[in-house]
Chain length 244, copies 2
DNA sequence: CACAACTAGTTGTCTATACCAGTTTATAAG
DNA sequence: CTTATAAACTGGTATAGACAACTAGTTGTG
């Protein structure tokens, strides 16, 4: 039960202790619920100041790896629940997984100048050109969602209506060789406005799920901002949360 | 632009500084993006050690209120998006991360026999005993959600109302030594029923977010089934999706 | 004018020490 | 044996100071 600390390393000492403890936890040498060596013992063992040890432990406590108990000791955490890694699926994959046949109708395809709100979401300057698309998402002939997509034109300058009606993600990943890294998504309950109700063939004021998603490339740049309105009576959003 | 620090107070000095800065931020005296006084200036002003000031600032940085920039200064955060969204699973953590003060009221605590639906969710036999709890989740004095929790009595036979009103997860993980592995969660948009509307102080028929969660232990057995009704006008559910 | 050097200001890392506040265990008193 | 007390642990708070790394502006030099 040991790790090395190199005082001449370029890496901060607290960071080395932090990583050392983390590896003991992930290797299973320190089991969940088990007490780690006391702060003073770590000071002696690695010949460092207690404040330095505390900085390492603080970071691990903040990340949920460790739990402090005054007068008793510091213990390995039981593991936090975090979002799973399987979330980034498209409407198409999602519906197929539910055994339905997904299609979509492209309502609108045009170029616009970024508004203040959109430029913030996409981290670009105001008035830069965007591609705006609106489409109806359909599963087994039932309209499920009304979706507005915004992409910086700079990233996909030659995107056409024809390409977009097929598989946008395929085009972006395979043709443009842009790799998607992650997405931030928010969901809220709302009620259908007049236009949305018309398109989704529901009553005005009926419950809908408003989902906003910003997708980021591996470069860190936002690729797209999507706002979707899902029928509340037909769509249930599922997530699997896993222990880290 | 000032707050008081009482060195003879029962409260730790770093905590007083922390709360002082927080109040300057929420009162608007310190605007988002603005630089706060430097660490050394705070040391002089309140005649405390720099490590003490750093502890206060560290906590605020961890909570997303402040952002450190080496060589430049420490600045008030730009809002919520800046903060990582991982690990926001419990209502308590979630609301704290949004800078709100979460509390809850236990409305009901009793034992019932499992219905067909509940026995299926919890993978137990029908008519087995369950503990049912209902509570109101409150953030900054505003009712945010109405929650029903169901646990198999077999797993927590001596759970009392008193324990449950404190931290249920702490009890389960630390006292009962049950380790949580993962959870399945679903969200859908709905409208408030009469009882829900009353409890949440909204109109009947107002949009709500219905969240159902089943939490599983490492043994694979379901630990709990929770159904929560969140106010649609006050609650936005955020997720970070990562490519697998 | 361009550029390097310097300087003052910031946070980042680290030391060494001290005392406070809970918890457990050993020890002495009854 | 039981009970109180003390000692020896644990983490929590706080001090005072040092040097490193980074930023931004100023100043001096070519």
């Amino acid at each position: 039960m040991l790790f090395e600390v190199d005082k001449d390393s370029l890496l901060p000492i607290y960071f080395q202790i932090e990583e050392g403890l983390k590896s003991l936890i992930s290797s299973g040498e320190l089991q969940p619920g088990e007490m780690i060596p006391s702060e003073r013992e770590l000071c002696d063992r690695y010949d460092v100041s207690r404040m330095t040890v505390r900085q390492a432990i603080n970071n691990l406590v903040n990340d949920g790896f460790l739990i402090r108990k005054r007068g008793k000791g510091t213990f390995v955490g039981m593991g936090k629940i975090e979002q799973g890694l399987k979330g980034l699926t498209s409407f198409t994959e999602d519906m197929k997984a539910r055994g339905m046949n997904p299609t979509s109708i492209l309502l609108d395809f045009r170029e616009i100048k970024a508004t203040a709100a959109l430029s913030a979401k996409l981290q670009i300057h105001e008035n830069e050109w965007l591609i705006e698309m609106q489409r109806i998402r359909i599963a087994d002939d039932i309209p499920m969602a009304y979706e507005s997509v915004y992409l910086p034109k700079e990233l996909v300058p030659e995107l056409t209506k024809e390409i977009a009606s097929q598989s946008l993600y395929d085009y972006i990943e395979k043709e443009k060789k842009l790799a998607i890294a992650h997405a931030d998504q928010s969901l809220e309950a709302s009620v259908a406005k007049q236009k949305e109700a018309e398109i989704l063939q529901i009553d005005e004021g009926a419950p809908v799920l408003a989902i906003e998603r910003t997708t980021f490339l591996t470069t860190g740049k936002p690729l797209e901002f999507v706002r979707s309105i899902y029928r509340g009576d037909r769509y249930k959003f599922k997530i699997e949360l896993v222990r880290s």
